[in-house]
Symmetry: C2
Subunit: 302 residues, 2 copies
């Protein structure tokens, strides 16, 4: 299978427009209150120049299921909060000890370690609060509960935390392919999957559509993580916004380390192509979702 390239779809424009929708709502949910420090510290990371790809996927997942984006915006923003939380805690000195993220000092460098720990904690609970307080009343209450459940599984000890703990335990040790898969699937895959599922669940998608969009999310989530590892090798500090080559220095097990650089690039292509095929086979007509899968491939081949 080959990656589908679309001539008449402007992916950068789509991503920018949708990111602005998310950003304007995050601005509102994170309006500064007392105690100022915690709200400033949350804004510092959540509203820094991230790609916001996960919440954009939630919006598009809703659209392709015939739903209104208004219904999923709170959940989409909550997913970005959880993602930001995981970055803040991952960057801590006791974890990956990173000083830079997206071209800026990391949260604990800007606010101190204690505040960074609390900022992450605040973002987790605020994510649930934002969904409950802002999802429109007309949405079925069971769908809202299902959304909260998906988020808790993705963020907690069955999701991101599970991936992160195995990642930490694997540093400076030889690991097998299955363990690397486990880390990637849990650290990155679960939240991508959750982003897709949430958009579908809140849009009353059929079981078939939900299943297809779940698979799409898993595939591009995994591809996204491998691409990130590849760029850590190929990229510059300016293009990455963080120190390149960091994975190797810190003894991280990455896909290119185990499968080689060209093997990893091929894997990204294979995963993204499969993701595109799933959309086509299930009549999920979304140039944006086709384009996002293509875009991940282009990052490592282009």
């Amino acid at each position: 299978m080959k990656i589908i390239k679309q001539k008449n779809f402007d992916l950068p424009k789509f991503l920018e427009e949708n990111k602005l929708i998310i950003k304007s709502h995050l601005e509102k949910y994170l309006e500064i209150r007392f105690p100022q420090t915690i709200w400033e510290a949350m804004r510092y990371t959540v509203l820094s120049n991230g790609k916001m790809i996960r919440p954009v996927l939630t919006l598009e997942s809703a659209r392709v299921c015939g739903g209104e984006i208004e219904n999923v915006i709170p959940a989409a923003c909550a997913i970005e909060m959880i993602h930001s939380q995981s970055l803040i805690h991952d960057d801590l000195p006791c974890m990956d000890n990173d000083d830079h993220r997206r071209g800026n000092p990391t949260n604990h460098k800007a606010f101190g370690e204690a505040t960074a720990v609390l900022t992450g904690d605040a973002l987790i609970s605020l994510a649930y609060q934002v969904i409950i307080e802002n999802t429109p009343e007309k949405i079925d209450r069971n769908a809202v509960l299902q959304t909260l459940l998906e988020l808790s599984k993705a963020a907690g000890p069955s999701g991101i935390v599970a991936g992160q703990i195995i990642d930490i335990q694997s540093e400076n040790r030889d690991i097998d392919f299955a363990t690397l898969d486990y880390i990637h699937i849990h650290k990155t895959g679960t939240l991508f999957k959750c982003a897709m599922r949430t958009g579908a669940i809140l849009s009353s998608a059929s079981a078939e559509k939900l299943k297809a969009l779940t698979e799409y999310g898993q595939l591009i989530g995994y591809a996204f993580q491998i691409a990130d590892d590849i760029l850590d090798i190929k990229g510059t500090k300016e293009s990455l916004g963080k120190t390149p080559g960091k994975d190797k220095i810190s003894g991280k097990n990455t896909h290119p380390l185990l499968y080689g650089l060209s093997g990893s690039i091929e894997e990204v292509e294979r995963l993204c192509s499969s993701a595109q095929q799933i959309l086509i086979e299930n009549n999920l007509d979304s140039p944006a979702l086709i384009g996002i899968a293509g875009g991940i491939t282009l990052k490592v081949t282009g």
Copy 2:
């Protein structure tokens, strides 16, 4: 107003029996899975020898509203998880830097800092998951959502985190009475209040009962924190399970420091007596709730 003492109610027996109910369910919710470390680290703190007073309050709040405890057990356990999470993160070197808790090494001393950060994160999301997955189907979905909202407000940047950040910022600085109140109300009061409200909400309590139990929770939550500060001065390492005099050494602002020891003891009596009166005025017949308020007073006077 004087503290009501009950001759025919065995408070220690009540607390022990109810704690066993909570503990047996926490054992189930925290059954060890892969990745083992994170589940072991959660169990280490949650199932250490804590008093589990908050979840016991949730059970009794349900009973006094005519509800069945089966309906509130998941929420009660979730509240204990959030409490444990706040302890784990508070004890970190970058926060209060405590080596002992409940007579054992703190979580990061036993499992390392990275795991302790992740354990706290895991417990927050697991708390929501446990409520959604285990609250009986017959409970109104809006009541479940309201419970999750109460928890998110108590745990997040409007609750515990708000109190903790102001506490950190106030160390080694003179603060006024209002700031000390703010810290206590948010660090401890909100979760006690949440414990009482949750039991009532899931038991379809009337607005009047909910209001009265909310006030009771706020009052004893505040009293509980002041009593804790008093015991930090009066207690021994054996009786506390942690280093006494730690507050003074670390420059913590405590109630006894601002109001004096006898003034603080009087305040505990006043708060607990008010809490008892609220129950009586609202015909909330619970020897256990009367006894718990009395018990907090007894800790500092007896």
